[in-house]
């Protein structure tokens, strides 16, 4: 407080500052109540619950670390982690690369720029449930996607990968997760395009002119100037994408229900957390799954921060 003191005009007395303090506390009280109970406090409470056998009626028995020991040997949890990591490894690079690609093209200052930017971003702000149902409709056995690839004569290519002409994309275990990945690349690449467009504005035009004088072509200019100078952008986008990937739920639930059907092929960590809590009422175990997910996400963020030597640019 003392550091701020010189900014206070001389004429303002002590009671004035007291009034300001009370006004500040009064305004902040209710919002902070929500943050402290339902957000920060909730995470601490989850840690507490994870140490108990906790059912619908409350705590039953203190278990210490037993829930975590169960997690270590739970094959379904392992499957959920595997699915989530696979999803992250495939989805994150695809959606980021597509987002960057679209941003660079749109940044060429061509006519209709605003329209294309708006159109590409729209799927990202539409209802995930609506988009998923729509996607399931397009990828059902007699849906538009199968019709169109048959019409275009592309079926031999799909046959090569063991996919028949009437593939049920979302309800067959070998394609379910990949179909959700394709759906989410389609949906969210627009968001990453917007992020990259904002960062592209920060690169000075002079650099490109200097590079041009040195005889660099567009391809070289991209890899030697644009890509490295987008480094803060890469960091931000990667952080957002990876946290997003570990939270994937809506599409998995709508595609495969609470069981992540077929055969847990759509069971993600969050879906498993939901299943354990809301379907099985095994709150202690579900909270432990949440704690493991929290630790996973935090460690990835820290590793990334070390790798990029930088903090997120929020404050």
């Amino acid at each position: 407080m003392a550091a701020n003191a010189p900014r206070v005009p001389r004429s303002r007395g002590l009671s004035d500052r007291r009034a300001e303090m009370l006004a500040g506390l009064a305004l902040i009280a209710i919002p902070m109540f929500f943050f402290l109970t339902l957000r920060i406090g909730a995470i601490g409470y989850a840690g507490f619950i994870s140490l108990w056998d906790w059912g619908l009626r409350g705590a039953k028995e203190f278990e210490g670390t037993r829930n975590f020991e169960r997690i270590l040997t739970d094959p379904v949890f392992h499957k959920a982690v595997l699915n989530t990591v696979y999803y992250a490894i495939v989805w994150v690079p695809l959606t980021i690369a597509l987002g960057l690609f679209l941003a660079v093209i749109i940044n060429m200052k061509i006519r209709g720029q605003k329209f294309f930017r708006a159109a590409f971003y729209f799927p990202a702000i539409a209802s995930s449930a609506a988009i998923t149902v729509l996607w399931i409709f397009l990828f059902q056995p007699d849906g538009l996607f199968n019709d169109v690839r048959g019409f275009l004569g592309l079926n031999p290519i799909f046959q090569f990968f063991g996919i028949g002409p009437n593939q049920a994309w979302i309800s067959t275990s070998n394609t379910a997760l990949n179909t959700v990945i394709a759906l989410n690349v389609w949906t969210t690449s627009g968001t990453f395009m917007l992020f990259y467009l904002a960062y592209l504005q920060t690169i000075s035009n002079d650099l490109y002119e200097a590079a041009a004088i040195d005889g660099a072509n567009a391809w070289n200019a991209f890899w030697k100037i644009t890509f490295p100078l987008l480094r803060p952008g890469h960091f931000f986008v990667l952080t957002v994408a990876i946290i997003g990937a570990f939270q994937m739920f809506d599409q998995a639930y709508i595609g495969g229900g609470v069981d992540g059907s077929p055969n847990n092929s759509l069971t993600t960590i969050v879906l498993y957390l939901y299943r354990k809590a809301i379907a099985d009422f095994d709150f202690g175990y579900a909270a432990a799954v949440g704690v493991v997910l929290f630790v996973l996400i935090m460690s990835i963020t820290l590793i990334q921060r070390r790798f990029f030597g930088q903090t997120p640019s929020w404050t």
Partner: protein, 306 residues
């Protein structure tokens, strides 16, 4: 790729400055050629965005057998799907729509009220613990929302009994989304940009802190309030997770929740399902068309400086 003349490289990536006249003719051809490719890519990708939505609207006017065939114009054009959605679904489309409006409206209102209060306090008032509390608010951005599932469910079910079958059930979702760190942050940043002169003037006129906040600062913050309202409405309208967890009765279901449940029950009635998809999408599309800059500016701001 062939080597490009200097002017075409600079001109293609950032087309703000005219290229030197001497090198222009050679560069223009390459640039025009690549511009053509760029257009082809943009239009192709644009179609990829458009076709699924268009196909959904078309399907909602088809008969059930027609819905699974490759007819671009429904044959015949029928309102069967819409009729089913409005009358046969349980709950029917108008109920789902109303529920979504109730939840999204309340969440929006709450974020605007609590967000302006916190945003103004963090931006302009000095009180003990301000920095720590602000770090807590920003820190909550890093915690994935679904991690609070178990504790929030237990608190709302066992402590305050909002997970029930009565009308207070809606409140459970509203309470969970009542205030988001993004709202506080956006409003704080905006309040910081308003010159202090306004408050000084109000003070000279004898206004207290609350009067200054309500009469002077709130009207000045209208653009930020609009942005928060639009972004929160869109977020709450689309939210699937919390309604799924907390809304118990069918009659409380929101549009996304209804869609997910119907997809299991009426797997094959695509005209009716696509009608619900259209209704779930339209309000956000309308908001987007009229307030596009709020959506894109919000994302861009959080991306660069935050």
């Amino acid at each position: 790729m062939t080597a490009q003349s200097p002017a075409s490289v600079a001109g293609e990536i950032e087309d703000t400055r005219p290229a030197p006249a001497t090198v222009r003719p050679a560069g223009d051809r390459g640039a025009r050629w690549r511009r053509g490719i760029a257009y082809a890519l943009l239009i192709g990708y644009g179609l990829l965005m458009l076709v699924p939505f268009a196909w959904t609207v078309i399907t909602s006017f088809k008969t059930q057998p027609d819905a699974v065939s490759l007819t671009v114009i429904p044959n015949p054009i029928v309102f069967e799907g819409w009729n089913t959605a409005f009358t046969q679904l349980d709950p029917a489309l108008p109920r789902l729509f109303l529920n979504s409006l109730i939840v999204a409206g309340a969440v929006t209102l709450s974020n605007v009220i609590l967000g302006t209060m916190a945003g103004y306090a963090f931006a302009r008032l000095r009180f003990p613990g301000r920095e720590v509390l602000f770090v807590i608010v920003i820190g909550s951005l890093m915690i994935p929302d679904q991690l609070r599932l178990v504790p929030v469910y237990i608190l709302l079910n066992n402590v305050v009994d909002l997970v029930n079958s009565g009308p207070t059930n809606y409140l459970s979702v509203v309470v969970v989304l009542a205030i988001q760190a993004e709202s506080v942050f956006l409003l704080r940043q905006y309040f910081l940009t308003i010159p202090r002169d306004y408050e000084e003037a109000a003070k000279i006129d004898g206004a207290g802190f609350f009067t200054t906040f309500a009469r002077v600062m709130l009207p000045l913050a209208t653009p930020a309030i609009a942005a928060v309202a639009i972004l929160q409405f869109q977020g709450a309208w689309n939210n699937f997770f919390w309604p799924l967890v907390l809304l118990q009765e069918r009659s409380h279901w929101t549009l996304p929740l209804g869609l997910a449940q119907f997809r299991g029950l009426f797997q094959t009635n695509w005209p009716a399902l696509t009608a619900v998809v259209v209704m779930a999408t339209i309000p956000v599309l309308v908001l987007y068309i009229f307030f596009q800059r709020y959506f894109t500016a919000g994302v861009a701001a959080s991306g660069v400086k935050g």
